[in-house]
C-alpha cells in the first residue's frame, strides 16, 4: 500500500530507452562481437577456399597442357617440308581434335610467322602478358586473365622449340580453360559464408541476451527482495549462495536487511518501552483523578476548580501521548491496520455522535446509502474526529459532512464556515507540528499533530487528503479525504504497513 519513492524511481528506470538497459547493451556487444568474428572467419575461409580451388584447377590444367604440348610436339615430327599448306591445316585440326580437352579447354598454336592455328580461338584471344613471358625466354608460362565478357580464364603457354617443319624455329602451344564454373561455385560459397556470418551474429546476440539475462537474473531477485523489504517484510532473505561471486552481494544485502530490521525492532521496542513508562503513571493519574472527581462535591471550591483543571489537562495529556506514540509507530513502520468492512453512512453518523460538536448533517446520495468500505475503523474514526475538531478550532465548527462514491473510491468531505486555508498553506498544514494561525492553546488539544495524522492515516489506507475552498461559493474550507473502498473482508484482518 505504501508508495515508496524509490518505486517511482524504478518506473523511471524502466522508462529509459531500450539501449540504455544493460541487457540490451550486452546483447548488442555480443552481436557485434559475433559479427566481427564470423566475418573474419568467413572472409579467411573464402580466401583459403578460393586459393585452394584455383590452385587445384590450375595445377590440373597446367599438367594437362604440358601433356598436350608434348603430344603436339610428337605429332609435328610427322610433318615434312613437302607437306602442303592445306594438309598442315588438316593436321592441326586433327591434332586438336585428338587431344583431350577436359573442362572445355581450348587450344591455339602460334606459328613462327605470327599466324595461328585453332579450332575456336584467334590471335586476340591470347592475352599479351603471356606472350611477353614466352618471348622473354620462359619455356612454360601461365596466366589468369579476364576475358572480354568479364569471366575469368586460365591460360598456359608452352614453347615447342626446334620444329624441323619450321626449319628449326619454335611454335607456341597455348591452351586456355574457363574458370567461370569455379567462379559460380565460389559465388555460392560466398553466399553461404555470408549467411553463416549473419546466423552466427544472431546466435551471438541470442547468446549475449541469454547470458546477460542469466547474469542479470540475480538483479531481479535482489529487486524483488528489496521490494518485499520496502513492503515491510523484514524476514526477506536473499539466497545467492550458489554463485560464489554473488554470495558477497547477498551476504552484504542480508546484513543490511538485518541491520535495518534490528533498528526498526529497537525503535519498536523503544516505542513500547516509552509507551509502557508513560502509561503507568497516566493510569495511576487517571484512576486517582476519577476518585477525586467522584468526591468533588465534598471538596472546597478552590480544590474543585483544581480538580477540573487537572482532569481536563490529564485528558489533553493522554491525547498527546497517544498521538505521539502513533507518530513514532508510523515512523518505525510499526502500525498494523485492523481492517474490517463497514457501512460508510452508519460509520459517519456514529463518528459525529461521539464528537462533542453540535449536530452536523451528513449528506450523501441515495445511490451511496449502502456503500461499505474496508478500513481500520478506529483509525478512520480518528481521522474524522481530527477533521471535525480542526473545523471546530479554526473554522467556526463543521457545517457539513458528506461522502460520495466515485468508482472504487470514496471522498469524505468536511466543510466549515471559517476563513478557509490560504493556497500557500494547503500543503503545509498536513505537516507535523504545524498549525493554522494563532489557535487557542488553552481550549484545544491540538499540538499540530491532528492533521498530520489525518494525512498519514489516509496514506496508510492507500488514500490521500487535501483542502480547498468550499465549492458552494460560501466562505470556508473543505477538507477531502479520498480512500479506496477496498475489497470484502469477512473477519477483522491485520495489515502491516
Amino acid at each position: 500500500m505504501g508508495k515508496q519513492p524509490w518505486l517511482r524511481g524504478h518506473r523511471i528506470w524502466r522508462g529509459r530507452r531500450v539501449w540504455q538497459s544493460l541487457l540490451a547493451r550486452v546483447t548488442l556487444t555480443y552481436a557485434i562481437g559475433a559479427l566481427l568474428l564470423s566475418s573474419i572467419m568467413a572472409g579467411a575461409s573464402f580466401v583459403l577456399a578460393q586459393n585452394q580451388l584455383l590452385a587445384d584447377r590450375e595445377g590440373q590444367h597446367l599438367e594437362q597442357v604440358i601433356f598436350n604440348a608434348k603430344d603436339i610436339r610428337e605429332r609435328l615430327e610427322a610433318l615434312t617440308p613437302e607437306t602442303a599448306a592445306e594438309e598442315v591445316g588438316t593436321f592441326y585440326e586433327n591434332a586438336f581434335k585428338g587431344l583431350p580437352h577436359p573442362n572445355g579447354s581450348q587450344s591455339i598454336v602460334l606459328l613462327p610467322d605470327g599466324d595461328t592455328k585453332s579450332l575456336s580461338l584467334t590471335r586476340p584471344d591470347i592475352p599479351a602478358p603471356i606472350v611477353g613471358k614466352i618471348r622473354a625466354g620462359t619455356q612454360v608460362a601461365e596466366q589468369r586473365y579476364e576475358k572480354a565478357d568479364r569471366s575469368i580464364s586460365y591460360m598456359v603457354g608452352v614453347r615447342l622449340d626446334d620444329v624441323p617443319f619450321y626449319d628449326g624455329d619454335g611454335i607456341i602451344y597455348y591452351e586456355t580453360v574457363s574458370l567461370a564454373e569455379l567462379e559460380s561455385t565460389l559465388g555460392s560459397l560466398r553466399v553461404i559464408l555470408a549467411g553463416v556470418a549473419v546466423i552466427s551474429s544472431l546466435a551471438g546476440a541470442m547468446l549475449g541476451y541469454y547470458s546477460a539475462r542469466r547474469a542479470l537474473a540475480p538483479v531481479g531477485r535482489i529487486s524483488g527482495a528489496a521490494m518485499a523489504i520496502a513492503g515491510g517484510d523484514l524476514t526477506t532473505k536473499l539466497d545467492l549462495q550458489a554463485d560464489r561471486d554473488l554470495s558477497i552481494l547477498s551476504d552484504a544485502f542480508n546484513n543490511m536487511v538485518d541491520a535495518v530490521a534490528t533498528r526498526i525492532e529497537r525503535e519498536e521496542r523503544f516505542t513500547s518501552d516509552v509507551s509502557h513508562e508513560l502509561r503507568s503513571p497516566l493510569m495511576t493519574l487517571a484512576a486517582s483523578v476519577e476518585v477525586l472527581e467522584r468526591r468533588k462535591e465534598s471538596l472546597p471550591d478552590v480544590a474543585q476548580q483544581a480538580v477540573d483543571l487537572l482532569s481536563q489537562d490529564l485528558h489533553r495529556f493522554q491525547r498527546l501521548v497517544e498521538d505521539l506514540l502513533e507518530v513514532s509507530r508510523l515512523e518505525a513502520g510499526a502500525v498494523k491496520l485492523q481492517l474490517s468492512r463497514f457501512k460508510l453512512a452508519e460509520f459517519l453518523e456514529n463518528v459525529i455522535a461521539q464528537t462533542k460538536s453540535a449536530y452536523v448533517e451528513i449528506s450523501f446520495s441515495g445511490r451511496d446509502a449502502n456503500s461499505s468500505i474496508t478500513a481500520d475503523k478506529r483509525r478512520l474514526a480518528q481521522v474524522m474526529t481530527n477533521l471535525i475538531e480542526n473545523a471546530e478550532k479554526y473554522g467556526n465548527g463543521p457545517s457539513g459532512v458528506s461522502f460520495e462514491v466515485i468508482g472504487d473510491k470514496v471522498r469524505i468531505i468536511v466543510e466549515d464556515d471559517g476563513p478557509g486555508v490560504p493556497a500557500s498553506q494547503r500543503e503545509r498544514i498536513f505537516e507535523r507540528f504545524r498549525r493554522m494561525g494563532a489557535g487557542n492553546r488553552a481550549s484545544g488539544t491540538g499540538f499540530g499533530l491532528g492533521l498530520s495524522l489525518v494525512a498519514e492515516h489516509a496514506r496508510l489506507h492507500g488514500g490521500s487528503v487535501w483542502v480547498t475552498d468550499r465549492t458552494d461559493g460560501r466562505h470556508g474550507a473543505q477538507f477531502v479525504v479520498q480512500l479506496p473502498l477496498g475489497e470484502h473482508v469477512d473477519v477483522v484482518e491485520e495489515m502491516a504497513t
Binding site: S272, S275, H276, R279, S280, P281, L282, M283, T284, L285, A286, A287, S288, E290, V291, R294, R295, Q318, R329, V335, K336, L337, Q338, S340, R341, F342, E346, F347, N350, A353, Q354, S372, K377, R378, A381, H488, V489, D490, V491, V492, E494
Partner: protein, 227 residues
C-alpha cells in the same frame, strides 16, 4: 456481599489507584501483584470478574488467563499496552472475554464489568422455552447449551453470543450489533472480539470448526446461526 473483582497488576501504584477507583464504584476488590499470587487467590476465593495485566513478571497474563479458564467460566478482562498488537488476539484466544488498553478510565472498566455480569438475555423474561437448532438445545434461562443431550461448557460471553445469535436464527448480525448486545460497546468496539469469540464458540459447538454448520459467516455482513 458485593461483586468481587480480582485485579492482577504488578505496579503497586496502579494497583492501588485502580482499587481505590473501583471501590468508589462500589465493587469489592481483591488484589494480586503477580500471576502466581493471582492463581492462589483465585483458587481459595473465586472472584466474579478477573482483571489481568498482560505484562507480568513470572508467569504472564496469558498463562494466568489460560490457567483460570481451565477450571472456570469467570469473565476475564485483559489489560494491554496497545490495541493494535497481537496481544489482543492472543489474550482473547487465551480465554479473555474483553480487553482494555492502558491508561483506561476506571469508569469504563466499571461499565465493562457491568456488561459482563449482565445475564444473557432471553427472548421473553421468565420464558423457559428452549431454542433448538439442529443438535443444539439452548436454554437461556438456565444458562445451558446441550448438544445431542450433552452439556457444552461455554464461557459466559460465548454463551451470551450464542443466545444472541439464536434469538433470531438465520438472521445476520453485524459485528457492531453483536458488540453492542453482547459486550455493551458502542459502534467503535473492536470487531476482533466478535471474530475470536466466534472462533472459540465454533470449537465448542461445531463438529468441524473449519467448515461450520451452525455459526456461519455471512460474507462481508457478519455472522448468523444457521437454523
Amino acid at each position: 456481599m458485593g461483586t468481587k473483582i480480582l485485579t492482577v497488576e504488578d505496579d503497586e501504584r496502579i494497583r492501588l489507584a485502580v482499587t481505590l477507583a473501583l471501590e468508589e464504584e462500589g465493587w469489592d476488590v481483591i488484589e494480586a501483584d503477580s500471576g502466581e499470587r493471582a492463581l492462589e487467590t483465585f483458587a481459595s476465593s473465586p472472584a466474579d470478574v478477573v482483571l489481568i495485566d498482560i505484562m507480568l513478571p513470572g508467569i504472564d497474563g496469558f498463562e494466568v488467563c489460560r490457567s483460570i479458564r481451565r477450571g472456570s467460566d469467570v469473565p476475564i478482562i485483559m489489560v494491554t499496552a496497545r490495541a493494535d498488537t497481537h496481544d489482543v488476539v492472543a489474550g482473547l484466544e487465551a480465554g479473555a472475554d474483553d480487553y482494555l488498553t492502558k491508561p483506561f478510565a476506571p469508569k469504563e472498566l466499571s461499565a465493562r464489568i457491568r456488561a459482563m455480569l449482565r445475564r444473557a438475555r432471553s427472548t421473553e423474561p421468565g420464558d423457559l422455552e428452549r431454542i433448538k437448532v439442529g443438535e443444539l438445545e439452548i436454554s437461556a434461562d438456565e444458562g445451558m447449551v446441550l448438544k445431542n443431550g450433552t452439556e457444552l461448557h461455554l464461557t459466559k460471553t460465548e454463551f451470551k453470543l450464542l443466545v444472541e445469535l439464536a434469538s433470531q436464527p438465520g438472521k445476520v448480525f453485524s459485528r457492531e450489533v453483536l458488540l453492542e448486545r453482547v459486550w455493551g460497546y458502542d459502534y467503535f468496539g473492536d470487531g476482533r472480539l466478535v471474530d475470536v469469540h466466534v472462533r472459540r464458540l465454533r470449537t465448542k459447538v461445531e463438529d468441524d470448526p473449519a467448515s461450520p454448520r451452525y455459526v456461519v459467516t455471512s460474507r462481508g455482513l457478519g455472522y448468523k446461526l444457521q437454523p
